[in-house]
């Protein structure tokens, strides 16, 4: 245990609750008292009112809140899964087969230091404004950690186990299948959250610049229409949605890891 003073769990809940409550009250106070003008910040109450209004109202940004959330979810799921589905096998193969490593590595190293967001203009040229471009940016963002972790995982396989499998007469492919992939699994699981965080950032960036629907787009519209409450609503929805997706991926990861240990 650390030396920190221990607080009862029940008390801890109320302390945390109080902290949020104070934040909201202060926020409400500085807006309604006129300390901060409404062009800079809207009150929490008006954000809540807007939330319920946006559930059914498509104005002023062209879609209901549900449609925005759905569009963002669709993009992140497609891009993230695509990145894992291509990145992990690619990284595994690069880790084990020197020829594939030699072929792919130079291109990969060339792309790696370019922030995925820098691809947005090209993505607009290629795919226009819409879903495909968003998915592409998210995919590029998630690909890098997926490849690197799978690759490193294979390199971390115990050389003695590999040597032993060789004495049993195992082929290179058999060793890859029976030793390298299981050895790499912990590293691959580690990549799930890392890739998700990057993909989520990429999603928002892509939606801010190259989209006509989605939570990032909602924020941009709020800025253009000088509606801080629309921006805040978009941000809060991004926080909540991101938290839920992260939670689900974490659950899946735990399930897989415990399946591994059993």
């Amino acid at each position: 245990m650390n030396g920190r003073e221990q607080v009862k769990v029940k008390n801890l809940f109320w302390i945390s609750f109080l902290s949020i409550l104070i934040l909201i009250l202060v926020w409400q106070f500085i807006v309604s008292s006129g300390i901060v003008p409404s062009t800079m910040l809207d009150s929490p109450l008006s954000v809540i009112r807007l939330f319920f209004d946006k559930l059914t109202n498509v104005n002023p940004d062209g879609a209901t809140l549900g449609a925005h959330v759905l569009a963002s979810l669709q993009a992140i799921l497609l891009g993230y899964l695509l990145a894992l589905l291509i990145g992990i096998p690619l990284g595994l193969l690069m880790g084990w087969y020197a020829v594939i490593d030699g072929l792919v590595r130079p291109i990969f190293e060339l792309v790696r230091p370019i922030p995925p967001v820098a691809w947005i203009p090209l993505a607009i040229f290629w795919f226009g404004i819409g879903m495909t471009g968003k998915v592409y940016i998210i995919f590029i963002g998630g690909l890098v950690p997926a490849v690197i972790n799978a690759y490193t995982g294979v390199l971390m396989s115990n050389p003695v186990l590999i040597q032993m499998a060789k004495t049993y007469g195992a082929s290179k492919w058999q060793i890859f299948k029976t030793i390298c992939i299981p050895s790499a699994l912990p590293m691959i699981f580690g990549a799930l959250q890392v890739a998700l965080a990057i993909c989520w950032t990429c999603l928002v960036a892509a939606e801010l610049l190259a989209s006509d629907v989605g939570l990032g787009y909602l924020i941009t519209m709020g800025r253009r229409l000088l509606l801080p409450k629309l921006v805040i609503l978009g941000m809060l929805m991004l926080g909540v949605t991101g938290f839920i997706i992260g939670y689900i991926v974490d659950k899946i990861e735990r399930h897989l890891v415990s399946g591994l240990r059993r």
Binding site: L161, M164, A165, Y168, G169, Q174, T178, R261
Partner: protein, 261 residues
Amino acid sequence: MEEANRDIKEAYKIECINVSKSYNYGEKTEVKVLDKVNIKAKENEFVVVLGPGQSGKTTLFRLIAGFERPTAGEVYVNDKKVASPNPKIGFVFQKYMLFPWKTVIGNIEMGPKLMGISKKKRREIANYYIKLVGLEGFENYYPNQLSGGMKQRVGIARSYANNADILLLDEPFGQLDAQTRMFMEKEIMRMWNQEKKTVCFVTNNVDEAVFLADRIICLEGKLPGRVNKIYNVDIPRPREFTDIPFIKLREEIKNNMELIL
């Protein structure tokens, strides 16, 4: 020329003739680990290589197993010059080296599986050796759920299951506590009596060597490793640590080792 020097009157399972091994670190630094080592093991013989740490024991085993080539000299296994890792040799490591994601039975089946033996047949083989090493009831445990002694039993069963006819055990009980170690020494004797193999066993423990060996090969205490002395142990089995001949031989070896250290 080396060929002509071989003793062809008697068949050996393992024969190391003037084996030397050096490693190069960088341009100039050459470390000589083994120097003209001669070792022979007959079929079903229990040979113990005794030497303190840093005397080239593990390197010797790696050469016999075919993981590496000697710098000079020859290594023969089953009258064939060793050129590549040999499936006829089972290696048991000090640090267990089990597949952590496989169960006990999965670990033992691994060799037969990679050699393409059918599922039914390899299950049969695995169950047989699980019984031999006394791991019934633990078939579906994972290595991290096992004690050190049990892990080493899995390692031994794995080598047997692989149909190895030579077992190389590299300080297999080095990581066990004293009591488990003594128990495992008796166990390995029991297994070996039940299912004879040619065994090469590395240890730095004199008691262990005298308890187990048909022959003890003493290495010198510092690099490069050289054979210092060979003892033929003819104390009848089962041996007791308190037998008079046991104690006599142990003292003799201990005195000798103090001299070479």
